[in-house]
C-alpha cells in the first residue's frame, strides 16, 4: 500500500515532474534551446525537444559502476548542482546506482532485476568503469563479476551509455601493464547501440545532452569513429582554447604559473595535449561554466582519448620524443662509427689488393686490335 502511494506521488512524465518542482516553461525552453545549440541541432528543434521531453515517460536508467574511482558520478552529481540539468536527472527513473541508491545488498540487486524486468528492451544502461577480464574476482558487486553483470544487464537495454574513459576505452585500469586485463564496454557488448562519453571525468552537460537527445529522438546522436557524440567531441580543445592565439603568435608559458601563463599564453611547452584531444572542455567548461584545467594553468592531459595514460609523458610537449634520448643517439653513432671503420678497412684492403695485383704492361706487349 505504502509502495503504491509512493508510486502515485512520482511524476508520470518529465513535464509533470518539472511542474511539481516549480520549473517554469520559460526556464525549460531556455534549457532546451541551450541543449539544441550544444548538440548542433537547428534552432527550431528547441521547441520539438521541449515538447518531446515534457511528454516523455520517465526514462528507466540502470547505472553500473565497475573498475572506476567514482569520479564520474561525483562530477555528474555535484558539479552543476543545483541546475535544471540536475532536475532533469532527478526526473529520470534512476532505478539502480549503487553509489547513490539508499538500498544495499540483495535489495539493491532486486531493484536492478526488477527494473530490467519491468522495462525490458526500453531501459537505458549507463556504465562507468572498465571490466576486468583477467580474473572475475578482481571486481565484483554482490558476488557477481563485472563481466556477468554487464552481459546480463545489457541484454534488455535499449541503448548503452559508456561514461568516463574507463568504460569507453579501458582508462587508467587498462594502462600498461594492465594488471586486471581491463577492457571497455564496447569490447564486450557488440549487439547494442553504445555511445561513448569519455573524460576523466566527463563533462556533466554532455551526459544530459545525450539523455535529452535520447528522450527527444528515441535514439543516439551522431557519433565519431570512437563512438563519441560529434556535437561535443567534434573539435580539439586546442582549436577552441582561449590561449590558442598565443600559440599562433609563438608566445608560450615556460613554467607553471609564470608571467606568461598568467597572461594566458599557450601551455604547449608544458605538455598540453589539447591539439590531439577532442572534448568540449574549452567551450562548455566545468562548474557551471566557471573554468577548465587549461584556464586554471594546467595543460590538457588528453583524458578523453583512448590510452591517454600511455601516450607519452604528461609534462613534455607533444612534439618531444616519447622515449628517444641523447645517449641512444650516441650509441647509434658509435655503432655507425664501428661499421664505418669496418667498411673503410674493407675498402682499403680492396684497394691494396688491387694495387698488389697490378701488373705493369710495356708498350711492346700491347697489340693493336685489328678492326
Amino acid at each position: 500500500m505504502k509502495k503504491q502511494q509512493q508510486t502515485e506521488a512520482l511524476p508520470g512524465t518529465v513535464g509533470e515532474g518539472l511542474k511539481q518542482r516549480g520549473v517554469t516553461r520559460r526556464e525549460f525552453l531556455k534549457f532546451c534551446t541551450a541543449m539544441t545549440a550544444m548538440l548542433a541541432l537547428p534552432p527550431a528543434m528547441a521547441s520539438v525537444m521541449a515538447e518531446a521531453i515534457s511528454k516523455a515517460r520517465r526514462q528507466s536508467v540502470i547505472w553500473l559502476s565497475f573498475q572506476e574511482c567514482t569520479g564520474c558520478t561525483e562530477a555528474i552529481t555535484r558539479s552543476h548542482s543545483p541546475t535544471l540539468e540536475n532536475l532533469i536527472f532527478d526526473l529520470i527513473s534512476l532505478d539502480y546506482h549503487h553509489t547513490l541508491q539508499a538500498a544495499s545488498g540483495e535489495a539493491a540487486e532486486l531493484a536492478r532485476t526488477q527494473a530490467m524486468k519491468d522495462n525490458e528492451g526500453k531501459y537505458l544502461l549507463i556504465v562507468d568503469g572498465s571490466i576486468p577480464m583477467g580474473n572475475p574476482g578482481y571486481s565484483c558487486i554482490a558476488g557477481i563479476s563485472n563481466y556477468d553483470m554487464l552481459v546480463e544487464t545489457a541484454k534488455g537495454a535499449a541503448a548503452i551509455v559508456a561514461v568516463g574513459t574507463c568504460a569507453t576505452y579501458g582508462g587508467i585500469p587498462k594502462a600498461d601493464p594492465n594488471p586486471t586485463g581491463a577492457v571497455s564496454v564496447a569490447d564486450i557488448i557488440k549487439d547494442k547501440p553504445i555511445i561513448n562519453v569519455p573524460g576523466c571525468p566527463p563533462i556533466p552537460v554532455v551526459m544530459t545532452g545525450v539523455l535529452a537527445h535520447f528522450l527527444t529522438f528515441g535514439g543516439l546522436p551522431e557519433m565519431d569513429d570512437l563512438g563519441r557524440p560529434k556535437s561535443f567531441y567534434g573539435d580539439t580543445i586546442h582549436d577552441r582554447c582561449y590561449r590558442r592565439p598565443f600559440y599562433d603568435q609563438g608566445k608560450f608559458a615556460q613554467s607553471f604559473d609564470d608571467e606568461g601563463a598568467r597572461q594566458g599564453w599557450c601551455l604547449f611547452k608544458l605538455g598540453c595535449k589539447g591539439p590531439v584531444t577532442y572534448n568540449a572542455c574549452a567551450t562548455t567548461k566545468w562548474n557551471d561554466g566557471t573554468s577548465f584545467p587549461i584556464q586554471s594553468g594546467h595543460g590538457c592531459i588528453g583524458c578523453s582519448e583512448p590510452n591517454f595514460w600511455d601516450a607519452g609523458p604528461l609534462y613534455q610537449a607533444l612534439s618531444m620524443p616519447v622515449s628517444a634520448t641523447p645517449s641512444m643517439l650516441a650509441k647509434a653513432a658509435a655503432v655507425g662509427a664501428a661499421a664505418g671503420v669496418a667498411i673503410t678497412w674493407h675498402n682499403r684492403s680492396k684497394k691494396a689488393a688491387a694495387k698488389a695485383a697490378h701488373e705493369k704492361v710495356t708498350v711492346q706487349e700491347l697489340k693493336r686490335e685489328e678492326k
Partner: protein, 219 residues
C-alpha cells in the same frame, strides 16, 4: 588502434628506430667517405691562398656570372626551397621543443603564420623545381630514380606538416602521425641517398676550394 595510439607509436618506437638508423647512417657514411682518403699531393702549391677552402663554402652558394639569368628556376627555386625548409625545421615552436628534448638546446621561435608562409614558399619552389627537372632535357637525362625518391621524401614532411597545421583532408591526430612518419622516412633515407648532401656539402666544398687553391684557381 586509435589515432592517438598510432601517434604514440610514431613518437615512440618508430621515431627511436628512425633516429638510430639516421645517426648510425650519417656517421657510417662520413667514415666511409673520409676513410677513402686521397693520394698526397706532392706538387708544390701554385699559389699561396690560405682559406680558399673556407671561402669556397660560401662562394659556391652564389651563382657564377651569367648563370642566374640562364637558370633562374634552379637558383631562385633552390634558394626559396632551402630557406623555407630551414625556417620550418628550426623556427617552428613544436620543432624547437623536439630539439630541446633531444639536445637540451632551445631558441626563440617565429610566429606560426610566418613559418606557414615559409612552408608554402618551400612547397611551391619544390614543385617548380620538379617541373623544371621534368621539362629540361639535360636535367631530365641526368635524373635517376634516386632523385625522385629524394624529392618525394623531402616534399612529404612539408605537405603533411602544412595539412596538419591547416586541418586539411584527414583528422588532425592522424595527419600529425603521417607527418611524423614522413619525417621518419626522410631520416632513414637521408644518409643513403643524395639527401646526404646536407652533411657532405660543406666538406666537399671545402675540399674542392682547397684543392683548386693549390692548383692556382683559388676562389
Amino acid at each position: 588502434m586509435s589515432h592517438l595510439d598510432l601517434l604514440t607509436f610514431a613518437r615512440g618506437s618508430a621515431l627511436n628506430w628512425a633516429l638510430i638508423v639516421f645517426a648510425a647512417g650519417i656517421v657510417l657514411r662520413l667514415f666511409e667517405i673520409l676513410g677513402l682518403g686521397r693520394k698526397a699531393d706532392l706538387a708544390r702549391p701554385r699559389t699561396d691562398s690560405p682559406g680558399s677552402g673556407w671561402r669556397t663554402i660560401f662562394s659556391r652558394t652564389l651563382p657564377p656570372p651569367g648563370m642566374l639569368k640562364r637558370e633562374p628556376v634552379t637558383y631562385f627555386g633552390g634558394y626559396v626551397f632551402h630557406f623555407g625548409l630551414f625556417i620550418a625545421i628550426f623556427f617552428f615552436a613544436p620543432h624547437i621543443e623536439f630539439f630541446r628534448g633531444m639536445t637540451g638546446l632551445h631558441w626563440s621561435s617565429l610566429p606560426s603564420a610566418l613559418v606557414d608562409a615559409s612552408v608554402v614558399a618551400a612547397i611551391v619552389a619544390l614543385g617548380a623545381l620538379l617541373a623544371h627537372r621534368l621539362n629540361n632535357k639535360v636535367k631530365r637525362m641526368l635524373s635517376g630514380l634516386g632523385d625522385y625518391i629524394a624529392w618525394t621524401a623531402t616534399m612529404l614532411p612539408l605537405l603533411t606538416g602544412y595539412m596538419a597545421y591547416h586541418h586539411l583532408f584527414v583528422e588532425y591526430t592522424l595527419m600529425l602521425t603521417l607527418h611524423l612518419f614522413s619525417v621518419e622516412l626522410l631520416l632513414v633515407l637521408l644518409p643513403f641517398t643524395k639527401l646526404f648532401h646536407t652533411f657532405s656539402l660543406f666538406i666537399s666544398r671545402w675540399y674542392n676550394g682547397d684543392f683548386f687553391g693549390r692548383k692556382g684557381v683559388a676562389s
